[in-house]
């Protein structure tokens, strides 16, 4: 059984907000990993609904296409690009970079949550149309 995107985001937020000594120091990167996976999942769902096949393209290509598939909300596409870039950077080992701070993560998480919700709404309306 796999976790759906909403569950991933909720877990990510939990990790961030709950001061659990077990995850001391680990949570920034863990939160980023989960949030990125949720975002990638949401993007995959979007492509499956709207442009099947695009989910196999590079992340860069997907992000370039995004504004055209999120009509009426250019800003969301823009924020998703920004969050994706930040989360990716946080997930990789980079020379001389510290883990993201909690305000950064909170901002990206909010964007991911929006994106997940958006795609879910699309999916719901799409299935009724079918």
């Amino acid at each position: 059984m796999t976790l759906d995107q909403s569950a991933l985001v909720t877990t990510a937020r939990d990790l961030l907000e709950r001061a659990d000594p077990m995850t001391a120091g680990i949570w920034p990167r863990a939160t980023a990993l989960l949030a990125r996976q949720a975002l990638e999942g949401a993007l995959d769902d979007l492509w499956r609904l709207r442009a099947p096949g695009l989910e196999h393209c590079s992340a860069r290509a997907q992000l370039l296409c995004l504004p055209f598939y999120l009509p009426g909300d250019d800003k969301l596409a823009e924020r998703v690009c920004y969050a994706w870039a930040g989360l990716s950077r946080a997930c990789h080992q980079h020379p001389y970079e510290l883990p993201p701070t909690s305000p950064e993560l909170l901002g990206w998480l909010a964007t991911v949550e929006q994106m997940v919700a958006h795609v879910r709404t699309l999916g719901a309306s799409g299935s009724t149309r079918k």
């Binding site: 976790l3 001061a19 077990m22 990993l33 996976q37 701070t101």
Partner: protein, 673 residues
């Protein structure tokens, strides 16, 4: 703490209290609680300030030359010299001011005296004026004048007036007794009038001689007139009676004359001529003087009268008028004296008060030349001592700069403390590509920070400092990577004798510290929402990610589906760190520049090109990566793939096994040259 063992410093804030309202205390082990100020480090905290905040790092060279001078010279222990200079200067100024003040007062007093003397002559005033206008201010002379014992010259008004006060017209009682004596003598004279005292006395002598002759020779003829049997017993008896009678006559007349001449003499004593004083008083011009002179002349006229009764009448009739004229004169003389005294007294008081301050001021001013000489000597000596003491600090600063300078074209030569007071400054002999000039202006922020750090470290690590640590806030910022290596070395140098605590959010310093194998403890501090701060000992990045992954697996909070999504991400980071370590080590060993290397690492991007770069020194050979990995065994290729894919999705397989294999693979990767 030295000699006290461990101590715990606690700082707490009440709910909602301001940052400044902290409550701090110190708890030395096994000793009573005390406060931070009680440790007595207040001065040392300023002199040997072991903290360098980022703000100070930036501002040290910007705040003006005197601030830097103060910061650097504070540690030289020259306070005593500075204080001595200040004390000398103050002493000189005080003395000079006292002298100037006294001189000003003197001028004011001279003006007062001149004004007074323009109106009237006053010997005291003119004596004081002479004294005060003399070169040495004639303090002793003026003091002598003011002391009432000093007698003024006789022709001066004050003395004339003073003497007028002792004019004596004779009291009426005495006049009365002289008058009585005159009248008595007059009556006695009248009683003996017509008798001849001298004849009687000579006759008595003659008879006495004849009686003696008779007593010696018996009855005989008179030896004087030859009368026969003149000298007989009968004659002798009658002659004795005659002698007694004659003597009485003679003595009564004598007495009367003597009394007359006595009385007259006493009367004349009462009638002296008008004294010269009156003429002198005339020059001053006093009320009642004319009347007094007239009375005195009239009074004195009595002295030429020889008739006793006439003299007695003269005295009786004139004395009252004469005496009251003289009393009136004395009164006006007293009034004049008082008037003058009233004018003089305030001046005299002012002068005598001034004399005290003037004496003090002059006594103080005597030392002025020596004080000035001491000042100039001390100034030179202080400059010498200052630069002697500063030399080791300057040397250390230059040595530190050499560490930090790396590829900078900026060279730091001599550092000197120059100037004094408001001109004090630190001269930095900075050259750019060998050209001296406004070097601070052309230095980059990183170079300026390095220079500030070079000046800070020697001062904070002086052996006189009670602190055996330094705390530096973010010195890495705005330094290029090469300089970070230099910083790490400089800090390592300092850490030989001091505990060095550095705060930074720049990973380059810990990386350099690890790469250069500098002994250190790295703590990582993370901050959750609501400022929940977590402190962990930081491991090198590879071990750090491995340990994080292991910690995640052990959490009971997270469902295994979440862990399957998280653990591969951490493992991938560990592998990335291993690849990066290999590449960086190889490149830096080959003498490549830091900047170039970082660009190359960034360009490699994803895991596979990075692996290719690490293993084949060619990021384009990504397709060969799996083959190469599988040479370690198929587990290596498997775990590489799991890390790569799992970062995006759930992985299957035993998580602990994935972590263990990641660690194994990382060790293998590190073996690449």
């Amino acid at each position: 703490m030295e000699g006290q063992g461990q101590a715990k410093v606690v700082c707490a804030w009440d709910e909602g209290a301001a940052l400044e309202a902290q409550k701090g205390f110190v708890q030395p082990k096994g000793k009573p609680k005390t406060s931070l100020p009680a440790l007595g480090w207040k001065d040392a905290l300023v002199s040997y300030r072991p903290f360098l905040s980022y703000n100070e790092l930036g501002s040290m060279l910007d705040e003006g030359p005197s601030k830097l001078y103060d910061a650097l010279s504070l540690v030289l222990g020259l306070e005593d010299l500075v204080n001595a200079q200040a004390t000398l200067a103050k002493s000189r100024l005080d003395r000079q001011q006292a002298l100037d003040g006294a001189d000003q007062e003197r001028e004011a007093l001279v003006e007062l005296l001149k004004t007074l003397l323009e109106r009237e002559s006053d010997d005291r005033a003119s004596a004081c004026l002479d004294a005060l206008t003399s070169k040495s201010w004639g303090l002793d002379a003026a003091e002598a004048v003011l002391a009432s014992g000093a007698l003024p010259p006789v022709d001066q008004d004050i003395s004339v007036l003073t003497r007028a006060l002792s004019l004596d017209p004779g009291d009426s009682e005495r006049v009365g007794s002289v008058v009585g004596a005159l009248r008595d003598a007059d009556q006695q004279l009248k009683a003996v009038a017509g008798s001849d005292a001298e004849t009687s006395r000579q006759l008595a002598l003659l008879l006495e001689a004849a009686l003696e002759f008779h007593a010696g020779h018996g009855d005989s003829d008179c030896p004087v007139c030859g009368t026969k049997a003149g000298l007989t017993q009968t004659w002798a008896e009658s002659s004795r009676k005659e002698v007694d009678r004659l003597r009485a006559i003679a003595s009564g007349s004598d007495h009367a004359y003597r009394a007359a001449s006595d009385a007259l003499r006493k009367a004349r004593e009462l009638l002296p001529p008008p004294p010269k004083l009156l003429a002198q008083l005339f020059e001053i011009g006093l009320d009642g003087l004319a009347a007094a002179r007239e009375q005195w002349d009239g009074w004195h006229a009595g002295s030429t009268v020889s008739d006793l009764t006439a003299v007695a009448i003269h005295l009786e009739t004139r004395h009252e008028a004469f005496a009251s004229a003289i009393q009136a004169l004395k009164k006006s003389a007293a009034a004049e004296l008082k008037r003058r005294e009233d004018r003089w007294r305030p001046i005299a008081t002012a002068i005598s008060e001034w004399i005290l301050t003037a004496k003090e001021a002059r006594a103080g001013a005597e030392h002025l030349p020596r004080i000035k000489a001491a000042e100039s000597w001390l100034k030179d000596a202080s400059a010498d001592i200052r630069n002697q003491r500063f030399a080791p600090i300057a040397d250390k600063a230059m040595a530190t700069w050499e560490h930090l300078r790396q590829n900078s074209n900026v060279a730091l030569g001599r550092i000197e403390l120059a100037g004094a007071r408001s001109q004090r400054r630190v001269t930095l002999d900075v050259t750019v590509d060998g050209i001296p000039g406004a070097a601070l202006g052309v230095m980059s922020q990183g170079e300026l920070h390095s220079l500030a750090l070079s000046l800070f470290l020697p001062r904070a690590t002086l052996s006189e400092s009670p602190f055996r640590f330094v705390v530096i806030d973010d010195p890495v910022q705005s330094m290029d990577p090469a300089r970070v290596d230099g910083l790490a070395r400089a800090l390592d140098e300092t850490a030989r004798t001091r505990q060095v605590i550095v705060f930074t959010h720049d990973e380059r310093l810990p990386e350099a510290v690890r790469r250069l194998a500098i002994k250190s403890t790295i703590l990582s501090i993370t901050r959750r929402p609501k400022s929940v701060v977590e402190v962990r000992t930081a491991l090198d990045p590879i071990q750090g990610h491995i340990q994080d992954a292991l910690a995640l697996v052990q959490t009971t909070e997270l469902p295994v589906t979440v862990l399957r999504r998280l653990v591969p991400g951490f493992c991938r980071s560990a592998l990335e760190a291993a690849f990066i370590t290999v590449v960086r080590r190889r490149r830096l060993a080959a003498g490549r520049a830091h900047g170039e290397l970082e660009d190359e690492l960034k360009g490699a991007g994803k895991l596979t090109p990075l692996a290719a770069l690490a293993m084949f020194d060619d990021r384009e050979r990504g397709s060969d990566v799996m083959n190469r990995l599988n040479k370690f065994g198929s587990w290596a290729g498997d775990v590489f793939r799991q890390c790569k894919d799992g970062a995006h999705d759930e992985v299957a397989g035993e998580l602990k096994l994935i972590i263990r294999d990641t660690e194994r693979l990382a060790d293998k990767i590190l073996e690449f040259p």
